[in-house]
């Protein structure tokens, strides 16, 4: 089935369901399964969010090529997940307890058959005894059909914080 045959309503429903499933994979720490939602050539990008005057808002979100919080390939994500299995990834051992709340989905079918999907998120992280972080932000994904399944080929995560009020970013968005 091609995108043109799917109504926007069905597309919205499918993608929304996809994101709900993804959030459960992350919060249930099924990271290897989570990795499967990405294409092999995925680019997972977290630019910095600058604090600039209104006239400079075109520079608020840093571009590719400037320093980012992360600019990762699938192998980078694999490395991060492989780390967890060693039992010595101290930032995540004991592991964080997370809750990903994904909302405000907007889907936009693209001419090449891919879909652009924008969501807002809140990610709560509780770690060790007393630490907690709350990340707010938006994700913009490009999704592609691979063997009849949606996969994310590009994910841009824009956090709302300037100075991150967190001891480390050890969780996935």
């Amino acid at each position: 089935m091609t995108i043109s045959e799917v109504s926007t309503k069905d597309l919205w429903y499918d993608i929304n369901h996809f994101y709900i499933q993804e959030a459960w994979l992350l919060d249930e720490r099924k990271f290897k399964q989570w990795l499967n939602i990405f294409t092999e050539d995925v680019f997972y990008f977290i630019p910095r969010r600058k604090n600039v005057y209104r006239k400079d808002l075109s520079r608020e979100i840093t571009k590719y090529g400037d320093l980012a919080i992360l600019e990762e390939s699938k192998r980078d994500l694999q490395m991060r997940i492989a780390r967890l299995d060693t039992g010595m990834a101290w930032a995540e051992d004991p592991p964080s307890r997370t809750r990903h709340i994904i909302a405000n989905l907007v889907v936009e079918p693209l001419e090449n058959g891919e879909v652009k999907a924008k969501t807002a998120f809140l990610l709560y992280k509780s770690h060790l005894e007393y630490d907690q972080d709350l990340y707010a932000g938006m994700r913009e994904d490009i999704l592609r059909q691979v063997d009849g399944e949606w996969k994310v080929s590009r994910r841009t995560i824009v956090l709302d914080a300037n100075v991150l009020l967190t001891k480390n970013v050890s969780v996935f968005f």
């Binding site: 910095r48 005057y53 320093l67 919080i69 492989a82 991150l164 001891k167």
Partner: protein, 446 residues
């Protein structure tokens, strides 16, 4: 006048370190004055303010500071505090502006800090205000290889003297190319640690094979990065751990062919780094001389007081909080594949989400927080490793440990802390003479 010795926190003969310096609010306030109020502090890079009237907002300790390049191209580091009532006159990370208007009552300062305009100067101040005395508070500014430093203390030695022989080593990373370097960043986050712990950790090579083992193993498995085993770190033949004039350094003795980079070099891109080393070696040799260009690599290091591991800052935010700033620096004339690899690799390992950095934080935090309890404070930190096994070296300037893994830099760092904290003024703070042979054409500025 000889200062009364007040702080005696590190026992050089046993390595016992008094934990209260990590937690005591009064000590912290004194550090802001006696260390951050006196030392040359790294505040940015020339490439962050390339054009006239560019500004970059930064900090000296807890004090907000505006780095500007004025109309004449001169750099200024100025307290971000309106001279009327004290409002911050800049609230953004960076930008470009000829002048800065205070949002409270409208006093307006030019990009060189002078007070240009005061609303109602004639009618309510009766032309009696001496505007020339009310410019922004200026720090002394100087640069080394494009890196901008500033100090509030007008009696401080020159930056060149302050860096001293540490520059002989720093040149290995920061002064390689004629075209200079470009800074990117910063990426900023909050680490719940005392600022001294990440600084002292920079030459704690003891922690690497334990704290970072998961990332070392995963990097090897996924990226083919040669493993840093405990064995390779404990082996000292080709690595040095040394201290110069307040600054902690580590170096490696390497072949002329070996790429001078760590994070960012993986099996797939190694050939780019090998080629870059080969292509640039003649230029680096012209600039640094053959000993440094052909045989040495700079490892982890920190500059007193708070420049951490390359081009990063540990900004104090109270005894138990540090704002961390991560920048990436690379040679302006490097090819895109080198720039991309360094930006990706340095941040992926040492940024807020860095696979190495994230595993450091709870360790640093716990050793800091242990100091809270009066029971725990009865038991000192034990910086005992390698006492009596460091000294002058015939080839390398500084106090050189005979093992790469040693705590001599840590003992020296807390000794330097005492020297600043116990001094009445800069006149009481010792500065090592410059003795290194700065072979080659590279200077502080070119």
């Amino acid at each position: 006048m000889v200062a009364t010795k007040k702080y005696d926190v590190i026992d050089q003969s046993t390595g016992a370190l008094d934990r209260s310096i990590f937690i005591d609010e009064a000590v912290y306030q004194e550090e802001l004055e006696k260390i951050f109020g006196r030392a040359w502090l790294m505040i940015g890079h020339e490439s962050l303010v390339p054009n006239t009237n560019d500004f970059f907002h930064t900090y000296m300790g807890e004090d907000p500071v505006i780095l500007t390049r004025d109309n004449n191209g001169e750099l200024h580091a100025m307290l971000n505090m309106c001279r009327h009532r004290g409002n911050r006159i800049i609230r953004a990370d960076d930008g470009n502006a000829k002048n800065f208007m205070c949002t409270y009552h409208g006093w307006t300062f030019s990009s060189d800090g002078s007070l240009e305009h005061v609303p109602g100067e004639e009618r309510v101040y009766f032309n009696e205000l001496n505007k020339s005395e009310l410019g922004l508070v200026q720090a002394r500014v100087d640069t080394y290889a494009g890196i901008v430093f500033a100090t509030w203390d007008h009696e401080a030695p020159t930056l060149e003297e302050y860096l001293g022989d540490a520059r002989w080593y720093l040149d290995l990373s920061f002064n390689r190319r004629d075209g200079g370097q470009q800074a990117l960043g910063p990426l900023k986050w909050m680490e719940p640690v005392n600022w001294k712990t990440p600084v002292d950790n920079c030459s704690d090579n003891y922690h690497v094979p334990v704290s970072h083992l998961s990332s070392i193993l995963a990097d090897e498995k996924v990226w083919g990065v040669p493993k840093r085993t405990a064995e390779s770190q404990f082996n000292t033949e080709d690595r040095k751990h040394l201290f110069v004039n307040g600054h902690s350094l580590t170096i490696g003795e390497v072949s002329p062919e070996q790429p001078r980079y760590g994070h960012g070099v993986v099996e797939d891109n190694r050939h780019h780094f090998v080629k870059y080393q080969k292509d640039t070696l003649p230029e680096v040799e012209k600039r640094l001389g053959s000993k440094r260009a052909r045989g040495l690599l700079l490892g982890n290091h920190s500059l007193f007081p708070n420049t951490v591991l390359g081009f990063r800052l540990a900004l104090p935010r109270g005894p138990l909080m540090t704002e961390f700033w991560h920048f990436v620096l690379y040679d302006k004339d490097a090819p895109p594949e080198i720039k991309d690899a360094l930006r990706w690799g340095l941040t992926g390992h040492n940024g807020a989400a860095g696979s190495f950095e994230q595993d450091d934080i709870d360790n640093w935090r716990s050793v800091t927080e242990a100091s809270k309890s009066p029971i725990a404070r009865r038991y000192n930190q034990k910086l005992v490793m390698g006492i009596g096994h460091s000294g002058p070296h015939e080839e390398y300037p500084g106090d050189v440990a005979t093992r790469y893994i040693s705590e001599s830099n840590q003992r020296n760092f807390y000794n330097r802390w005492e020297e600043f904290m116990n001094a009445e003024s800069w006149a009481d703070i010792p500065i090592d003479p410059i003795t290194a042979d700065f072979d080659g054409t590279a200077t502080m500025k070119d």
